[in-house]
């Protein structure tokens, strides 16, 4: 009993030591909850693995090598991560405007199908690549933007909450594209020569150049999505539009008072969010798949939510969080192969990361860290928060 308490205190001390180093030396204050959440999830995951009867270190070593064990592994991991950047930005941007966009899943589909449709238009093959590629990316971005903008409009015109409407729109687009891609009578977007349901292949001119022939292929879309993160960071931090977005997110009443067009900001933020998902989808269609299948983006939008929260909606931190997320998924097969630990264990660890990030009180308690803001004024802004 006593021993357990001592051990606990020891862990606590070690933890606060780690905390001190992280915050003071690395200045990672805002992200520490995320870092601890990752650490904690791997510990719990390790316990889980040893319960199955596998040495967790063996399993994690295999996972690590699967993630970053060599050039191909690294390229594959990065490639796997790229679309997550877009789907995470889709949550993060809306979040800054005080909106909870859980429709990235649908916005990816909308962007993906638009990109695949435009990419496969017969005249695309007559265009040079430097025209066709931007065109397919813009098409996907627009598709996502429109699908993201709709819940924004619904919110401002009817007061429908975006959580509900994005969920509905997710289903709508999912069944919509399934039908479009499956149906043989009438043929909508199905490639009738293929045995599996998919759209026609896009024109060669619209294919994003490849960087590394890894599994999956690492293509130029990487630069587009990383670039967008920095653009978004700049927009939020330095532009008047970013100021409006942040103000609306923090206090819509004061925004209205200060002359900000709150409805316009809501629609624009939702559309921009959808656009990021749409861009991610288009870059995947163009650079990786070459055609659209309804299952391509399965769960990618929901993973985006976890990644965005892990990155505390900071656009630059999203790059790192997405890389971690994607490479874990990319490395998992080697863990299964070598240590015979199911890929699902990685999924479980990821789910725990999200849980710990969301319920950060657990992390704060375990690592003996107080909330950053101890101000007693904090609890008073019930009105302001509405």
């Amino acid at each position: 009993m006593n021993g357990a308490r001592n051990a606990n205190a020891g862990v606590g001390r070690a933890a606060s030591q780690i905390h001190r180093v992280l915050t003071e030396a690395w200045r990672l204050q805002p992200l520490y909850v995320s870092l601890y959440a990752i650490l904690l999830s791997f510990v719990v995951g390790g316990v889980l693995i040893s319960i199955i009867g596998v040495n967790p270190f063996t399993a994690y070593w295999a996972l690590l090598r699967g993630m970053v064990g060599g050039g191909d592994e690294i390229a594959g991991s990065v490639a796997r991560s790229v679309p997550f950047i877009g789907s995470a930005l889709a949550l993060a941007f809306a979040f800054r405007a005080g909106l909870f966009n859980i429709g990235a899943e649908g916005q990816l589909l909308a962007g993906g199908i638009t990109a695949a449709y435009v990419g496969a238009l017969s005249w695309m093959s007559d265009l040079p690549g430097f025209v066709a590629i931007p065109l397919i990316l813009i098409a996907g971005t627009m598709g996502g933007a429109i699908w993201g903008g709709i819940p924004g409009v619904l919110r401002t015109k009817t007061g429908a909450h975006e959580v509900i409407s994005t969920i509905m729109l997710n289903s709508l687009v999912l069944f919509g594209v399934r039908w479009m891609v499956n149906s043989r009578d009438p043929v909508v977007l199905r490639d009738t020569e293929s045995t599996v349901p998919r759209t026609d292949s896009i024109s060669d001119t619209a294919v994003l150049p490849e960087l590394v022939d890894s599994q999956p292929v690492l293509h130029v879309g990487l630069f587009a999505l990383v670039g967008i993160c920095f653009v978004v960071a700049f927009v939020l931090k330095r532009t008047t539009f970013g100021f409006e977005v942040g103000t609306v997110g923090l206090n819509p009443h004061a925004s209205h008072y200060a002359g900000i067009n709150v409805n316009r900001v809501i629609v624009a933020s939702m559309a921009a969010s959808g656009a990021f998902a749409g861009l991610a989808a288009a870059s995947e269609i163009s650079g990786t798949n070459g055609f659209f299948q309804p299952g391509t983006f399965f769960l990618m939008g929901f993973d985006g939510i976890a990644i965005a929260l892990l990155a505390r909606t900071n656009p630059v931190a999203i790059i790192a969080a997405a890389l971690l997320w994607g490479s874990m998924l990319s490395g998992a097969p080697l863990m299964q192969q070598e240590a015979d630990v199911s890929i699902d264990v990685v999924r479980i660890i990821q789910a725990m990361v999200l849980l710990f990030v969301a319920a950060d009180a657990i992390v704060r308690y375990l690592f003996r860290v107080r909330e950053l803001d101890q101000s007693p004024f904090k609890a008073t802004s019930i009105e302001g928060a509405m």
């Binding site: 004061a254 008072y257 101000s375 004024f377 019930i382 009105e383």
Partner: protein, 503 residues
């Protein structure tokens, strides 16, 4: 009952309390006075366990205490009514009161017995509250009584009241003091913070004055006068009556015709309001709160749709224009609700100071914010309006209530103004700051700005206005020249909507 000895508390950049000592005896009302930012709220927050002192000790009933949080303080019989209420609007009174201290029967809330307890407390101290009313529907005065009952429900016998009267109407203030007397009569001890010296002299047994975090004086109510207290607080001579020259009104700037406005519930609270405010005059609107003041101001400034009638500014019809368009005409607005409309709590002082003009050429070029220019402007305004802060990049939430108000006033009272709509501009401000802001408003008037002043403070209306209108049930019950107005006449108009003299 309570002894505070040598308390020091520093925040980044400021020492909010510096070696502060204070004692509170049983059954006593101890008033805490001081300028905005002097450290009053900080001190009582420590007594209530919300902050931990850096140095010094707190003793309750002779026993030294170290509070981890407010739960500990409540357990020691300390209750607090905050400067900003902490009630949940969608809950009923009874639910709010028992929140955090639930009376249960098995796994269920025992609301019935809570209700009985509330009723008996209410009766004992003369605190009329309806346990089943929804808090969001209550007036500010009623909400305050709920806060008091909530503290008493937890068996508090030391009560801390942080600026309880700032938001009350004169009638409510009288009721409130009735309650306070019955509380002390039954042995409760009270720390009472206020900026209103008249109240201090009326109720205090003893007075402690803070300035810049230090105790600069202790007095009993008998020996003190308003002037002596004010001078002690501010550290210089304070003039209570603002000097102002005769108004020289020009062309009409702001005009409403048969204006009708509905409140959030759809009830028309402005029911045909006509007014004309001319350049270079201050038109004061007096009235008991809740007679349509809020809706009137919001409609004029474009924040609330009108239900009928028209608004004209500078010769143009501006009915239902957006707040931005109205603002760009040169119409500034100091809002009544500071935390809801006036500031973004998480933003810095600098960002709050440009909240409605961040997009102007001066502060942004091609859509990119010019932080250098924003900070420079903020620095200038902070100095000009004497906002007490370690720097313009401090988060505004860390400022004292009064200093937050100064930030809003600084933002709104600068620029190329044609008209100014001010609601409760000096609520929660200390005497020195009130004097300063009054002078600013008069200065603007003298430069030809048309000012519409809405205030629940009759003194403020009387000392600033050139003409006074009384708002009663959504329309003007009468307009008088300030020079001829008396408190009695206005009071009668406010209460009944007519003055017998005119009938």
């Amino acid at each position: 009952m309570l002894e505070v000895e040598g308390i020091t508390k520093a925040f980044p950049g400021v020492v909010a309390n510096d070696d502060v000592s204070l004692t509170l005896n049983q059954g006593e009302i101890h008033c805490l006075l001081g300028e905005n930012g002097a450290g009053k709220s900080t001190l009582v927050n420590m007594v209530f366990g919300l902050y931990r002192p850096d140095q010094g000790t707190i003793k309750v009933r002779g026993e030294e205490v170290h509070f981890e949080d407010s739960g500990d303080a409540i357990a020691r019989g300390i209750g607090m009514v905050h400067q900003h209420f902490q009630l949940i609007p969608v809950f009923t009174v009874a639910e709010n009161i028992i929140l955090g201290n639930e009376v249960t029967k098995g796994a269920f809330l025992d609301l019935d017995s809570a209700r009985r307890q509330i009723d008996s407390l209410a009766e004992r101290y003369g605190l009329a509250v309806d346990p089943d009313a929804t808090v969001g529907d209550l007036s500010v005065g009623e909400q305050q009584r709920v806060e008091l009952v909530k503290a008493l429900f937890r068996d508090a016998d030391i009560l801390i009241l942080d600026e309880p009267t700032a938001v009350l109407t004169p009638g409510e203030v009288d009721d409130f003091f009735g309650v306070v007397e019955s509380l002390t009569g039954q042995g409760k001890s009270i720390i009472f913070i206020t900026h209103k010296l008249r109240e201090v002299l009326a109720v205090a047994d003893r007075i402690t004055v803070l300035r810049a975090g230090q105790v600069v004086g202790t007095a009993t109510a008998e020996g003190a006068t308003q002037q002596s207290l004010a001078n002690l607080m501010v550290g210089r001579d304070v003039v209570f009556r603002v000097d102002k020259a005769e108004a020289d009104p020009g062309a009409p700037v702001l005009r409403t015709q048969d204006l009708r406005v509905a409140d959030d519930r759809g009830v028309e609270t402005v029911t045909g309001f006509d007014v004309e405010v001319r350049a270079g005059e201050i038109f004061g609107i007096a009235g008991v709160e809740g007679n349509g003041q809020r809706e009137l101001v919001e409609a004029i400034c474009g924040m609330r749709p009108t239900a009928g009638g028209r608004v004209e500014m500078l010769g143009q019809e501006t009915t239902d224009w957006s707040p931005r368009k109205i603002n760009e005409l040169g119409v500034a607005h100091v809002p009544e609700n500071r935390s809801k409309h006036g500031v973004v709590a998480q933003y810095t002082i600098a960002d709050n100071l440009v909240l409605n003009r961040y997009h102007h050429r001066k502060f942004s070029q091609r859509g990119v914010r010019n932080t250098g220019a924003i900070n420079a402007e903020a620095q200038e305004l902070v100095e000009q309006f004497d906002v007490r802060t370690p720097g313009v990049d401090a988060v505004i939430d860390t400022l004292s209530g009064g200093n937050q108000q100064k930030v809003i006033v600084a933002r709104e009272l600068t620029g190329d103004l044609k008209a100014l709509v001010v609601a409760q501009p000096t609520r929660g401000l200390d005497v020195g700051s009130i004097e300063f802001i009054h002078r600013k408003i008069i200065e603007l008037r003298d430069r030809g700005v048309a000012v519409l002043l809405v205030s629940a403070e009759l003194d403020e209306i009387l000392s600033l206005s050139d003409r006074i209108g009384v708002l009663y049930r959504g329309r003007l019950a009468g307009t008088v020249n300030a020079a001829d107005a008396t408190r009695e006449e206005l009071g009668l108009l406010m209460a009944t909507g007519s003055s017998e003299g005119q009938r």
